[in-house]
């Protein structure tokens, strides 16, 4: 199996380390080798409102670093994924911008050539490893677990650039979830927005969008919600927990896809870091429903 440079971004290393540890463990089981490259910077996504160039150059520097080491990039956060893809696209169209970028990069001995490939870890599991092989690596499967998957905007759109799955009817994440024996339920918010990008800018609006998603998922009978993006997960986990305050009963547990896989693979729970998910209650001797 191929080696990839693991791109974590800024949120995962300090706010959801369990995403990194569980993904690493799961991919190791599946035979994917991950290399950590020191010196990666922010993907630029959070600064796009302010300055497009800061946004593009940030992503591009990361790609140049990976190119220098000779690895393609594996991404775990949709916003990082889309940013890297957009930067790759913009730089392939704009020679002037490319030259300006490479002048900056030259100061530290880097050059962006545009040869690096950007892959979301879902694509690697789905396309490179395959559902069949994945199923063989599972030690146990779930029954009666209803999961609401949310793809996250930036893995799907703009489709010409991200090139992930079918733009209007994606199924990769549903299929990957169902490989664990769980049921990926049909619900309204599957392709929608989690509201995270408005957290801090318009908290009220962000909370409305979040609540709408949670209500929709619960009404459709979800036991938990799964996302594959750092921002989505923080929104469904930390922000949901913060805004629920004392209303513990209404909380919809949020779990990350590699955590779900890891449970089925029998990976050490400490490595999966499920107790770091703020919306999942841990009971003595095991997990609270729905993961019991």
């Amino acid at each position: 199996m191929k080696k990839y440079a693991l791109f974590l971004g800024c949120n995962i290393p300090i706010r959801i380390q369990q995403y990194a540890s569980s993904t690493k463990a799961v991919l190791k089981n599946l035979g994917v080798e991950l290399k950590s490259i020191s010196g990666f910077n922010c993907c630029g996504y959070p600064v796009r409102n302010i300055d497009e160039k800061s946004f593009l150059f940030s992503s591009a520097r990361n790609m140049a670093l990976a190119e220098k080491k000779g690895f393609d990039i594996l991404v775990m956060c949709n916003c990082c994924f889309q940013s890297l893809k957009i930067a790759k696209n913009s730089l392939s169209k704009d020679k002037g911008l490319l030259n300006e970028l490479n002048e900056i990069l030259a100061k530290e001995g880097l050059k962006y050539q545009g040869i690096v490939k950007i892959k979301h870890f879902l694509s690697i599991i789905y396309h490179d490893i395959g559902i069949n092989f994945l199923k063989q690596s599972l030690l146990k499967t779930f029954n009666n677990l209803n999961i609401a998957v949310i793809y996250g905007c930036h893995i799907l759109r703009p489709h010409e650039i991200t090139g992930f799955d079918n733009r209007f009817a994606p199924s990769i994440l549903d299929e990957l979830v169902e490989a664990t024996g769980a049921c990926s339920i049909d619900w309204q918010g599957k392709l929608g927005c989690c509201g995270a990008s408005l957290t801090g800018i318009n908290d009220k609006l962000s909370t409305i969008i979040l609540k709408e998603k949670l209500d929709d998922a619960k009404n459709a009978g979800a036991d938990c919600i799964i996302s594959v993006c750092a921002f989505c997960h923080i929104q469904f986990d930390t922000v949901q927990k913060n805004s629920a305050k004392n209303d513990e009963l209404k909380i919809l547990p949020a779990i990350l896809y590699p955590q779900l896989l890891g449970l089925c693979m029998g990976i050490d729970e400490k490595i999966l870091g499920i107790e770091q998910n703020k919306t999942i209650k841990i009971k003595k001797g095991g997990y609270a429903p729905p993961f019991a």
């Binding site: 800024c10 949120n11 290393p13 300090i14 706010r15 010196g39 910077n41 922010c42 630029g44 996504y45 959070p46 600064v47 796009r48 409102n49 302010i50 300055d51 497009e52 160039k53 800061s54 150059f57 940030s58 591009a60 520097r61 900056i104 100061k107 530290e108 905007c153 930036h154 799907l156 759109r157 703009p158 489709h159 733009r167 209007f168 392709l191 929608g192 927005c193 509201g195 995270a196 990008s197 408005l198 957290t199 801090g200 800018i201 318009n202 908290d203 609006l205 962000s206 409305i208 969008i209 709408e212 921002f231 923080i234 930390t238 922000v239 913060n242």
Partner: protein, 570 residues
């Protein structure tokens, strides 16, 4: 006499400086909004905290940290080998020189009963330590010039510090080399210690020293025959060798003396030894007096920070001790720039060229706040932008070789700036996401958002109060021209999650996405820029994906946001 006068004067300045600087640890604070904690409370908290650590098991952690973090500088070693070599050379070379040579009458003479500065190993070691320091400053100098120069922002103090350290060592080497070649020094020594009977013996000894120990003399021209040298060697063995190892062991000074040979005689006649001695001790004493007021003060502050970090987590600190520690942290910063090299926001800096994006420069701002310096509005606006252009990845805090909690300091800087109520458009970016998660000072954050909202409203003509006629001009400011294909089907508005979030969206949303695109089509970019909707856009790209005319709505919104910010910040 002069020596002692200068020594006591510089010692006095140094001690006064130390008292002043240390008193600021209990007087200054980085966050003016913090509850008032009196200096007395802060001092007593510091004493209690220190006692608590020393008289508990934590002392083991402190000792371990002293060895690993302070003496061996583990953090620098892990991050950058070259920087570690440079720092170890300077630090160890300088400290050892200071103890062995600077404090010879206190340390060396008591420790070694046979100590004599002119015999080995001390003669050799002095040169070795000096060369270590010079090599270290050399590496540091070239690192600052050559490597990633744009991110290591070297200021005058950085250069001066390297200069003064190198100057002390170089002046010492020149002084020793002048002594080696000095004929008058030789004569004095012979008078004091030589057991010489006649002129021949004197000449023999002189020949021997000229030949072997670097003396430059006019008397010795052609008399270097074997017999004389043999005699000279015998006298040397009797009178000199006991207290004088061969001068070549002072390898740096001996080589320097060789290079300076052509001017040695005139230098000696002009009193070069005395002159160089003054230069050397004045440089040393200056360094001593200057230390508390410079970044060299980190040799006291950094170990304190590193060791307290090892003993205690920051969230266990009492509020008073937290205030104390933050000021010590500011003194611990050496402006080394390690934080900049690993900063996640580094390309924002390359694009926007605001030096305050670099963590090391933000620290300078905090030093200014702490000391109560008045800062002008332009400076404040720039620093505020720098403070907000931070991804909150905390890498600077993890990497700082002095153990400074930059994250906490920057949070305080932000609180400080929030109170000045200068509207900051950069707050309208997803960088605010991390700030909200921490859930602190959210009222001030909301107020700041409102002030930016007002600023935007007052900067652009909104649809409601427009009184000009339609221009129907092409909108030149936008690079993305796909808006021209819009035929106003409103698919974008219908699918927008923001519009859909409100039951009364007609009242709450000031302009619908299709209206914004349409206003661009009729040349009213000002109206589009005024729309609150562009800032409420979540960037989900649903509109763009569903647009039958392939108008890149979401991308255009990003264009508009960039443009609005550019216009109101210039």
């Amino acid at each position: 006499m002069t020596f002692h006068l200068l020594l006591y004067l510089s010692l006095f300045i140094c001690l006064t400086g130390l008292v002043l600087k240390i008193s600021t640890w209990f007087l200054y604070k980085v966050n003016t909004s913090e509850n008032d904690i009196s200096t007395r409370q802060r001092i007593s908290a510091a004493i209690k905290g220190t006692a608590h650590i020393i008289f508990s098991k934590k002392i083991i952690l402190i000792i371990k940290s002293f060895l690993m973090d302070v003496l061996l500088q583990k953090k620098i070693f892990e991050k950058n080998m070259l920087a570690w070599i440079a720092h170890m050379f300077i630090f160890n070379g300088f400290i050892l020189l200071f103890l062995m040579h600077g404090l010879e009458s206190i340390v060396s003479e008591n420790l070694f009963y046979d100590y004599y500065s002119t015999i080995n190993p001390f003669l050799f070691l002095r040169n070795l330590f000096g060369i270590m320091v010079l090599a270290g400053t050399g590496i540091a100098f070239f690192k600052r010039i050559l490597l990633k120069s744009s991110r290591i922002n070297s200021n005058k103090e950085d250069w001066f510090t390297l200069f003064i350290i190198a100057f002390i060592i170089l002046s010492g080497i020149f002084l020793e080399s002048a002594k080696i070649s000095s004929y008058s020094e030789f004569q004095n020594m012979v008078e004091d210690y030589g057991e010489i009977d006649d002129k021949d013996e004197m000449q023999a000894l002189e020949s021997y020293w000229v030949k072997n120990h670097g003396i430059v003399s006019t008397n010795i021209i052609n008399t270097l025959d074997k017999k004389t040298l043999l005699l000279g060697s015998e006298i040397h063995d009797m009178s000199c060798s006991e207290c004088h190892s061969p001068a070549k062991w002072a390898f740096a000074s001996f080589s320097t003396a060789k290079i300076l040979k052509p001017i040695s005689l005139s230098l000696d006649k002009a009193g070069g030894v005395i002159l160089l001695w003054y230069i050397h001790i004045i440089a040393c004493f200056f360094f001593l007096a200057w230390l508390p007021f410079s970044k060299m003060f980190h040799i006291i502050a950094s170990p304190i920070v590193l060791m307290t970090n090892a003993a205690m987590q920051q969230d266990k600190f009492t509020p008073a001790n937290l205030l104390n520690k933050q000021i010590i942290e500011l003194d611990a910063c050496t402006h080394c720039g390690t934080c900049n090299l690993d900063c996640s926001a580094i390309m924002f800096f390359e694009s926007l060229q605001n030096q305050f994006i670099l963590p090391s420069e933000k620290i300078n701002f905090l030093k200014n706040i702490a000391s109560g310096k008045k800062l002008d509005i332009k400076y404040l606006k720039n620093i505020q932008k720098g403070i907000y252009l931070c991804t909150n990845c905390e890498r600077c805090t993890k990497i700082c070789p002095s153990g400074i909690n930059l994250k906490k300091l920057f949070a305080n800087a932000r609180d400080n700036l929030l109170q000045k109520k200068i509207p900051e458009p950069y707050i309208y970016s997803q960088l605010s996401f991390a700030l909200t998660l921490e859930n602190k000072f959210s009222d001030e954050h909301l107020e700041a958002l409102k002030s930016v909202d007002l600023l935007l409203k007052s900067s652009f003509n909104s649809l409601k109060n427009i009184n000009k006629t339609l221009s129907l001009k092409k909108t030149k400011a936008l690079s993305n021209i796909t808006y021209r294909s819009c035929y106003c089907c409103q698919s974008c508005t219908n699918i927008c999650p923001v519009v859909g979030a409100y039951k009364n969206s007609n009242e709450v949303v000031d302009m619908m996405p299709h209206q914004i695109i349409y206003s661009l089509g009729i040349g009213l970019i000002d109206i589009a820029l005024s729309a609150k909707m562009i800032w409420d856009c979540s960037g989900c790209y649903l509109c763009q994906e569903y647009c039958p005319q392939r108008v890149e709505i979401c991308d255009i919104f990003y264009n508009l946001k960039n443009l609005a910010i550019k216009q109101i910040t210039h």
